[in-house]
């Protein structure tokens, strides 16, 4: 099995954990258990984690900045409130990534 996922790193304080969930804008509603443990508990072995956090920031910024560039067309298509909400979500997520509160990785396991 191979999967990409966004997650909160281990070892955060309670307040940072709460901030991380907020920054994830609904992408994460997880319990505090890391993927390595979850996969092992489900019977998977040989778990490999390939960190993609820096690329995550690049793609998130790409979507955000691209949408900003075409804001007139997108506001017409989505409506002003929805456009603003999506941009704000992206900004929160970028803040979370830069603060080390959100990570993204490719997990491979058998």
């Amino acid at each position: 099995m191979g999967f990409f996922t966004i997650f909160v790193p281990d070892g955060l304080s309670e307040s940072d954990y709460a901030r991380a969930l907020k920054c994830s804008t609904g992408f994460i509603s997880t319990r505090r258990r890391n993927h390595q443990d979850l996969l092992a508990a489900a019977g998977f072995s040989q778990v490999e984690e390939i960190d993609l956090t820096s690329q995550f920031l690049v793609t998130q910024r790409g979507w955000h900045d691209g949408r900003e560039r075409f804001h007139a067309e997108l506001i017409e298509a989505e409506g002003e409130d929805a456009f603003a909400e999506r941009q704000l979500d992206a900004e929160h997520m970028m803040e979370g990534i830069k603060a080390g509160l959100l990570r993204r990785a490719l997990f491979l396991c058998t």
Binding site: M1, G2, F4, W63, G66, R67, F70, E73, L106
Partner: protein, 134 residues
Amino acid sequence: MSKRRDYEERFRERYGAPVASAMLVIEREVIGANVGANGYTTIEQVNMLADRLRLHADTTLLDLGSGRGWPALYVAREVGCQTTLLDMPEPALRTAMRQKDKQNLANVSIIQGTADRLPLRHDTFDAITHTDTL
């Protein structure tokens, strides 16, 4: 509204909305191609995934939470493996079906369902993928 229904509604809305032409331009810049993507998985990352899972024309692949078909349809086209897409939101599955037909991908099946109640037998697939689903 329950959390599950809330998510279902959210994804139904997201996949049901028409894609503005500007989004296609942005997608090409961010993802590397126009493949119906709206997330964070680039072409380069999908190629790495396919390579690391050693997918080839004789393998069978299940993509959970397939959405509109990115990256599963791309993998099916590039690798040629027997690929099954599974997700819940009907608008997403309809888009995936249109893309499958448009690209003549006879090696692709599309099923409506959820990962926690798979409508499939055990040991049906050689590989499973999912993209920002969990």
